[in-house]
C-alpha cells in the first residue's frame, strides 16, 4: 500500500460505502416493484402482461422507460470519458439527441401500436409475421434479434460488473467478501484465473437483475426504469451546479480549457525505492527536474538501476501544473517509486505540436489519431447515427407497442425531449469542468464519473451524496439489461414456441416457459460474461448498430408502404444485415481490425446499411408480385361503416 495513495483510497472508501448502501437500497426497491408487478400478472392475460404490460403504459412510464432503455451504461461511463478526453466537441457529436425523441417515438409510434393491436402482436417479429403473413420471415427476424441482443447483453453484464466493482472501490465489507471469494474460487476449475471482484460483482448484479425481471416481467422492468430514470436525471442535476461552481464558473472553465494542452504520451524507466515491486496504473510521479507524470499501465519492477519501461502521460499544461504544484488540486505523488529516466515524451497526435484550443474546438484533442476525435467527414454520419439508428432499435419499438392511447404518446415525446435535454448537454458541461478538477484522468478515463462524484461531494462535505450520483451509471446499465433480457425470452416463448412449435399452449404452460426462459437466458449470459472472449469488445461495437440495420427498413416499409411485399421486406432485412457485416469484415480483412470497419465516403457502416436496406426493400418489392388485397385492406384501410360522422356532416332531419 502506498502511503501517498491514502487520500485517494479514503475517497474511494467513502464512495464505496455510499455505493454499497445505494446498491442495497436499490435492490430492495426493485424487488418491491417486482412484487407489485407480479400481482398484476395474476390478474391479466399472462403473455400480454408479462411481455407488454397489457398496453397500459401512461405518460411518465412510457417516457421514462423509453429514455432509460435508450441510455445504456455508455451514457454514464463512456460518454463522460469521451468528454473528458476530447472536450467541447462532444456537444456536436451528441447533437442529434435534440431530435432523438421526435424521431424515435414519433416516426413509428402511433402506427406500430395500431398494427400491433390489429393482430394482437406483442413482439417485433410478431408484427413482421402478421404484416407479411410469413412465418419464415418472422423466424429470420427472431434469430437476428436473439443473436444481436445476446451478444450485446454479455457486454452489458460485463459493464454492469465493472461499474459496480469500481463503485464499491475500497469498501471494507466488499474487500472482505472478495478475499473470501478468491479463496473459495481457487478450488473451482470454472473460476480459475478469474478476478474474484469481477465475479462477485457480476453475480450480484446478474442475480438481482434476473430475479426481478423474471418475477415481475414487463411492468417490473418499466417501473424500475422509471426509478432508474429519475436517479439518472437527479445525478446530473445535482452534479451540474457543483461542477460549475468548483471549476470557478463556466466562463472561467472554458477560458482555461481554451488554453489547455493535452498531456503528452511518455515512456518512463521506473525503479523501486523500497521493497515495492509493482508500478500501479494511476500512480503520480515527479521527476528530479520537476516534471509531472502519471502511470498509464501497471508493470512489475526489478531492482536493476536502469529501471523498467512503463507507459505514462506527462502533464504539460501550465494551468494543470500550477494547480497541482500549488496544492489547489491535491495529487498524491508516490515516494515508493523513482523515475530513473524519461525514454520519450511526445505531444498528443492531435493537435500535434502542443497548440492550445483542442478542447474547445472541433475535431477535438486525440492522443493517437492525427485527425482528431471528430473529423469533418465523420461529423455528418454522427447526426444521422443517433436519431435514425435509434428509431430502428427493437427495444424501443416494443415500448411503442405498449402505450395506452395516442395522447400518452404525444405527452411522452415531450417529456423525453425535456429529459434528454436535462441529461446530455449538462453532461458535456459537467465533464468539461471536470478537466480542471481532476487532472491526468486520461489514464483511467472510464472512472471519471465516480471519481468526480466523490470529489465534488467531498469538497462540500457531503460524501453521502456520492451514493446518489454514482448510482446513475448502474441504474443506466440495469435499465438496459432488464429490457434486453425480456426481449430475448419473449422472442423464444412467443415467436419460436407459441407461434411455431405449440400454438395450443395453455396460459400455464406459457407462464412456466416464460419464467424458465428468462432465468435460463440470464444465467447463460452471466456464465458467458464470466470469461468473455477477447474479441467481445469488437463484437459489441458491431452489434450495437446491427439491430437498426436489420429492422428499421422492414418495419418502416411494412407500416407505411402498401406495396411492400414479403420478398421486399426479407431483402431489406438481409441487405441491412449483410452490408453492415461486410463493412466490418472488410475492415478486419484489410488489417484495420474488426472494430475499425470500412467507411465508404467516410460514412458510418450503419448509415450505409440502412440506405442499402431501404433500397433493397423498395426495388425487390416493386419487382415482386403485389401483396394480397386482403392484407393491404387489413392494414391500410377500414370499412366505410366504421367512419365516424364528421362535424360538418348533418344527419337529415325526419319530419
Amino acid at each position: 500500500m502506498f502511503p501517498e495513495r491514502l487520500n485517494s483510497s479514503l475517497l474511494l472508501a467513502a464512495g464505496g460505502n455510499a455505493a454499497l448502501t445505494t446498491f442495497l437500497v436499490y435492490t430492495l426497491a426493485v424487488f418491491g416493484l417486482a412484487a407489485l408487478s407480479n400481482r398484476l400478472l395474476r390478474e391479466r392475460s399472462f403473455l400480454k402482461e408479462y411481455f407488454l404490460g397489457s398496453r397500459s403504459l401512461g405518460v411518465w412510464t412510457l417516457g421514462l422507460t423509453f429514455a432509460a432503455t435508450s441510455a445504456s451504461g455508455g451514457s454514464f461511463t463512456g460518454f463522460p470519458s469521451l468528454i473528458y478526453t476530447h472536450g467541447w466537441v462532444l456537444a456536436f457529436w451528441i447533437a442529434s439527441y435534440m431530435i432523438f425523441p421526435l424521431c424515435t417515438m414519433g416516426l413509428l409510434g402511433k402506427r406500430i401500436n395500431q398494427v400491433a393491436r390489429k393482430t394482437g402482436a406483442i413482439t417485433v417479429p410478431d408484427i413482421l409475421r402478421d404484416r407479411f403473413d410469413s412465418r419464415s420471415f418472422a423466424l429470420l427476424g427472431t434469430v437476428l434479434l436473439v443473436f444481436f441482443t445476446c451478444v450485446n447483453l454479455v457486454g452489458q453484464f460485463k459493464a454492469g460488473s465493472v461499474i459496480l466493482q469500481t463503485l464499491l472501490g475500497e469498501n471494507e465489507a466488499y474487500l472482505r467478501l472478495r478475499s473470501f471469494a478468491a479463496t473459495a474460487m481457487a478450488s473451482m476449475p470454472l473460476f480459475s484465473g478469474l478476478d474474484a471482484g469481477y465475479v462477485l460483482c457480476l453475480l450480484g448484479f446478474g442475480v438481482a437483475v434476473i430475479v426481478y425481471t423474471t418475477w415481475g416481467g414487463f411492468h417490473a422492468v418499466v417501473w424500475t426504469d422509471v426509478m432508474q430514470g429519475i436517479v439518472m436525471v437527479l445525478g446530473v442535476i445535482i452534479m451540474l451546479p457543483l461542477a460549475i461552481s468548483q471549476a470557478g464558473g463556466l466562463p472561467q472553465a472554458t477560458q482555461q480549457l481554451a488554453a489547455m494542452i493535452p498531456p503528452q504520451n511518455a515512456v518512463l524507466r521506473i525503479t523501486p525505492v523500497g521493497d515495492e515491486l509493482m508500478a500501479v496504473k494511476g500512480t503520480w510521479l515527479r521527476s528530479d527536474d520537476g516534471r509531472v507524470f502519471r502511470l498509464a499501465e501497471s508493470e512489475s519492477l526489478t531492482a536493476e538501476p536502469e529501471g523498467v519501461p512503463v507507459r505514462a502521460i506527462e502533464i504539460v499544461d501550465a494551468g494543470d501544473l500550477q494547480r497541482i504544484i500549488s496544492g489547489a488540486t491535491p495529487v498524491p505523488f508516490s515516494l515508493a517509486l523513482k523515475i530513473s529516466g524519461v525514454e520519450s515524451s511526445v505531444p498528443a497526435a492531435f493537435p500535434g505540436n502542443n497548440r492550445p484550443g483542442s478542447f474547445v474546438t472541433a475535431p477535438g484533442a486525440h492522443a493517437t489519431d492525427m485527425h482528431g476525435f471528430l473529423p469533418m467527414s465523420l461529423a455528418f454520419s454522427m447526426f444521422f447515427y443517433w436519431a435514425v439508428s435509434g428509431t430502428g432499435q427493437p427495444g424501443g419499438m416494443v415500448r411503442l407497442m405498449a402505450f395506452g392511447n395516442t395522447k400518452t404518446l404525444r405527452y411522452s415525446i415531450v417529456s423525453v425531449a425535456i429529459y434528454f435535454s436535462c441529461i446530455y448537454f449538462p453532461l458535456v458541461v459537467i465533464f468539461c469542468c471536470s478537466r480542471l478538477l481532476l487532472p491526468g484522468m486520461e489514464t483511467e478515463s472510464d472512472r471519471v464519473m465516480p471519481q468526480l462524484a466523490v470529489t465534488l461531494t467531498n469538497n462540500i462535505g457531503a460524501g453521502w451524496l456520492a451514493g446518489i450520483l454514482i448510482a446513475a451509471p448502474f441504474a443506466a446499465v440495469m435499465s438496459t439489461v432488464d429490457s434486453f433480457l425480456l426481449m430475448i425470452s419473449s422472442a423464444i416463448v412467443r415467436d419460436l414456441y407459441q407461434r411455431n412449435i405449440n400454438p395450443r399452449a395453455t396460459q400455464r404452460q406459457l407462464q412456466r416457459l416464460s419464467y424458465f426462459c428468462t432465468v435460463l437466458v440470464g444465467a447463460l449470459i452471466v456464465v458467458a460474461a464470466l470469461n468473455p472472449p477477447k474479441f467481445l469488445q469488437y463484437l459489441i461495437v458491431y452489434v450495437g448498430s446491427g439491430l437498426a440495420a436489420c429492422f428499421l427498413a422492414p418495419v418502416t416499409l411494412g407500416l407505411y408502404w402498401k406495396r411492400t411485399t414479403t420478398s421486399g421486406a426479407t431483402a431489406a432485412m438481409l441487405a441491412g444485415f449483410l452490408s453492415h457485416l461486410a463493412l466490418y469484415v472488410g475492415g478486419w480483412l484489410t488489417g484495420g481490425g474488426f472494430d475499425k470497419p470500412l467507411r465508404p465516403l467516410s460514412l458510418d457502416p450503419v448509415v450505409v446499411a440502412i440506405v442499402s436496406s431501404f433500397a433493397a426493400g423498395l426495388v425487390v418489392s416493386v419487382l415482386s408480385d403485389p401483396p394480397a388485397e386482403e392484407v393491404v385492406r387489413k392494414f391500410f384501410y377500414r370499412p366505410v361503416s366504421q367512419k365516424a360522422p364528421s362535424p360538418t356532416e348533418r344527419v337529415p332531419e325526419i319530419n
Partner: protein, 114 residues
Amino acid sequence: MTNASDFEPDPLFVDSLKEAKVILSIWLICFVWTVSVCLSTGYAKEVDPQQFPMILGMPTWIVWGVALPWLLANVVTIVFCLGYMKDADLGEDPPDPEDVSAAGVAGQEAGHVS
C-alpha cells in the same frame, strides 16, 4: 364478397404518414443547421485563448450550432406533439386463444373450489 368502395384509407395511417413526413423535415432542418454551423465555425485552425469567443461561458460555435437549435428543437417538439399530432383510436386487440383457454382453466378451477 367485398367491394373496393366499401373501404376507405385508414385515417390513422394517413395522419401518421403525414406526421412522419413533417418529422423527417424537422430532422433535415436540424441536420442542415447544426452541421453547417459547426463545420463552418467549429473547426478553427488557430485559437487565441485570451480572445476565445464565448456566450454564457460556452464556445460561441457550440451555442449557435448546438445549444440554440437544441432549444428550438424542444420548442418545435412541444408545438408539434401538443398542437399538430392528431389523436386517434388505436383499436383493440383481438381475443387471444390463450385467453379463451385461460378462461376455461379458470372456470374449471373455480368449479373445483366450489
